[in-house]
């Protein structure tokens, strides 16, 4: 969009918001006039109206954000009634069910829905779960999305995992105007919203942060080590060759340079690669103190851990490895992953749940299914269901004619933004429309990153368990170094 178009859009949306506020005020006033004296809940929130420019620090980077905010006050009113003719609420989950990252979303959503139904449902309506398998295929995902929305009539969609599949799925989402509370870490998705807000605004990333934040989390690991007596000035990087790393490796290397840390070599590996030993030997020879990995697609993080612990070279193993986040990693590496430092995607390590709701979710999930949530996507899906319930109720309480309408709910979801997180199993908030990220691209509707929000905590494998090393308010263990490190 050109600058001029952007200003026109901003102006148009401001007028749109102001008009909406006016109408809402009138409706609310009318509802109040006719209200019956029964139990009421008052939800009042005052937000400064008009254009707000804020300077925020995101991981050491100063980001300027401009929001157009409206005042929505909801006075006392009768318990909100659902729109006439609606008999149930349908929540759709679309994920790769053959993988644990997909299955956990179905399980978590199911648990959430059972709990909600036991307490009377959403607006008094029973909630039904509709599940579909995207089989990690863009075509399947697209046709299943369409089927769930048009044939099964779901009101909201939750799910995703693969970034490539998500890119394709955003098309039917836009066409069918369905809210999609999503997983997948590619920055490209938020950029799509930024580039064409009206088309893609239904997308909100809820399960984990924008992939660019991995660079910031990587720096956090380095800083943590430095603060705990481990000085690193040379890093050897082993990374997936794929695009998801290209998004953040330059930022990471740049931030490292400012700390006078050199990346002695960055090796790209393809999917299924297993010859890590020569790389580890080379890392040692080049004088690196640590191997920083950036792995997800390669699928062989367990081989890396095994070979690292067999060779016992004076190297730390740290970084982002999707395999290390898996609870079964200890078993599958035969304990070789001990001492590996990793990033806990999605902001939850089970030994240190960040909120009380998270703690009870883990307990209830384990009680219902016999094992704890098998992947971090479970927290996102659980949060998504509860968040949806919350915004629908808020919309109904505000007197919206159709509290299930996607365009309406987008605005209510956007209210959970910087400075106003909703505490679910994690503290969830979304970047507003027009937000710019640490890498200078658009992060509209992305999950807010920060110590007080969601972040990939600095974690380590110790004694067969995952522990959190940082931030200080959440940590439950101290750094342990491998004994063979000189």
């Amino acid at each position: 969009m050109t600058g001029k178009e952007k200003t026109n859009v901003d102006r148009r949306s401001f007028i749109k918001y102001a008009a909406t506020a006016g109408i809402a005020a009138v409706v609310a006033g009318a509802a109040g006039y006719f209200s019956a004296p029964t139990r009421t809940e008052t939800i009042t929130r005052t937000i400064p109206a008009g254009e707000v420019t804020r300077t925020v620090t995101v991981g050491g980077q100063t980001v300027t954000q401009t929001q157009t905010v409206t005042v929505i006050t909801t006075p006392t009113r009768p318990p909100p009634k659902p729109p006439a003719g609606k008999t149930e609420v349908r929540i759709g989950v679309l994920a790769p069910l053959a993988d644990r990252q997909g299955k956990v979303q179905e399980n978590a959503a199911r648990l959430a829905i059972e709990e909600i139904n036991a307490k009377g449902g959403i607006l008094g309506l029973p909630v039904k779960l509709v599940v579909a398998d995207d089989k990690l295929s863009a075509d399947t995902a697209v046709s299943e999305f369409r089927r769930l929305v048009t044939a099964e009539k779901v009101d909201v969609m939750i799910g995703g995992y693969s970034s490539g599949v998500m890119t394709a799925t955003m098309e039917p989402m836009a066409e069918l105007k369905t809210i999609f509370l999503a997983d997948a870490s590619s920055p490209a998705h938020a950029r799509k919203v930024g580039a064409n807000y009206d088309k893609y605004k239904y997308w909100f990333r809820i399960t984990q942060n924008n992939g660019i934040t991995f660079a910031l989390d990587g720096i956090e690991q380095i800083d943590y080590l430095a603060a705990n007596g481990v000085k690193i000035d040379k890093l050897y990087v082993i990374r997936d060759e794929h695009i998801w790393v290209d998004e953040w490796e330059p930022l990471f290397t740049d931030l490292l340079k400012r700390k006078n840390i050199q990346v002695v070599k960055s090796v790209k590996i393809p999917r299924g690669y297993t010859e890590y030993e020569p790389l580890l030997i080379e890392a040692n020879r080049l004088g690196a103190q640590a191997v920083f990995n950036m792995l997800a697609i390669s699928g062989t993080g367990d081989v890396l851990a095994k070979q690292w612990s067999t060779l016992k070279l004076p190297l730390l193993l740290m970084g982002h490895d999707l395999a290390a986040i898996d609870l079964g990693f200890w078993q599958s590496t035969g304990g070789a992953c001990e001492y590996e430092i990793f990033m806990a995607d999605g902001g939850v390590v089970q030994t240190a749940p960040p909120t009380p709701m998270c703690k009870s979710f883990i307990e209830n999930y384990t009680k219902k299914y016999g094992y704890p949530p098998e992947a971090h996507q479970g927290y996102g899906a659980y949060d998504a269901v509860y968040l949806y319930k919350k915004v629908v109720e808020e919309a109904a309480a505000a007197g919206e004619s159709n509290p299930f309408d996607s365009d309406t709910l987008v605005k209510y979801l956007e209210r959970y933004t910087l400075g106003n997180a909703i505490e679910l199993t994690r503290k969830v908030a979304f970047y507003p429309k027009g937000a710019w990220g640490a890498d200078g691209t658009r992060w509209d509707h992305d999950l807010v990153w920060g110590d007080e929000y969601v972040k990939n905590w600095v974690a380590q494998w110790q004694g067969g368990k995952q522990v959190v090393l940082a931030p200080a308010w959440l940590k439950n263990a101290d750094l342990k170094l491998p004994p063979w490190l000189k």
Binding site: P278, I281, L311, T333
Partner: protein, 288 residues
């Protein structure tokens, strides 16, 4: 110039990779050379060996060595079972055999995926620990694996040339009709051949998963590489496939060390294509 350390790494790592590939490709070419069957399920048998072995360890608490031997034998029986059950009747129709074995390979891949997940398994190694050659650390399992692979191939050679069955198999491979004419039970020989080649594949799979890791997608990858190596060596020539394995194994190791890990597989395949274009029947091709 190349440093001593690099040279050692190159030689040892290259040899391990080549040895394992040689196990699987020699079995593949043996079946083609003797039974005139293109068994595309061979990659599946390779991986099945690893997963069966792991199940034995997890399910029955066996040690790595015993379960290696047992899974090797189990895969041998599976292979010969496939032949007797599915392939024996249709072995004249090449295309049918290809379709059946390819479908079988894919079924194996999917079943493993469903039963064990996509993330691969690690087999506890028979030998743990590191051996130092000068400054260079070498995992003991690599050296052991290399030794086992070479020993197995050597035994294969002895079997084919020194034992009676071995010589009968050679006869049958050269001329099936003549062999039947002089009273050899060709079918039995074929079953034995399938058993041996599957045995080798299973052993290769178990070794591979101890040095690296096994995952379901290897079913197709191992097939493509075995196929490529066998064609480079010449369809039907065991000697050719062994030589080709070492060529490919070393090319891959060299590329990893000097060009970058991501190019290793592509390079290996491109070199094979180039070799085929220059010499279309492979290095030691058996002409029909």
């Amino acid at each position: 110039m190349i440093s001593f350390e690099n040279l050692v790494v190159l030689l040892v790592y290259g040899a391990t990779l080549s040895g394992v590939w040689a196990l699987i490709s020699s079995g593949f070419t043996l079946i083609f050379g003797v039974c005139r069957l293109l068994n595309l399920a061979h990659g599946g048998l390779f991986i099945a060996g690893a997963y069966i072995g792991l199940s034995l360890i997890k399910g029955f608490g066996l040690d790595p060595l015993t379960s290696t031997v047992l899974s090797m034998i189990a895969v041998g029986f599976i292979g010969s079972g496939v032949y007797t059950g599915l392939l024996m009747k249709v072995k004249e129709h090449e295309v049918t055999v290809v379709i059946i074995t390819l479908a079988l390979a894919l079924i194996i891949e999917q079943v493993i995926l469903l039963m064990f997940g996509e993330h691969g398994i690690i087999f506890p190694p028979i030998l743990a620990g590191v051996v130092y050659l000068g400054d260079v650390p070498l995992p003991a399992m690599r050296i052991f694996g290399m030794a086992i692979a070479l020993a197995a191939l050597f035994l294969l050679g002895l079997f084919v040339t020194r034992t009676r069955i071995g010589r009968e198999i050679t006869a049958a491979s050269q001329d099936v009709e003549a062999a039947t004419f002089i009273g050899l039970d060709v079918n039995r020989l074929f079953i034995v051949t399938m058993f041996i080649s599957s045995l080798l594949a299973g052993l290769g799979g178990v070794l591979y998963s101890q040095i690296y890791a096994a995952n379901p997608f290897l079913v197709l990858k191992a097939l493509i590489f075995a196929f490529a190596i066998v064609i480079l060596g010449g369809l039907g020539s065991v000697k050719g496939s062994i030589v080709a394995s070492f060529i490919v194994g070393y090319i891959m190791t060299v590329v990893i060390m000097f060009l970058g890990a991501r190019w290793s597989e592509l390079f290996a395949l491109l070199i094979i294509i180039a070799a085929l274009i220059i010499r279309p029947s492979g290095l030691f091709g058996v002409r029909e």
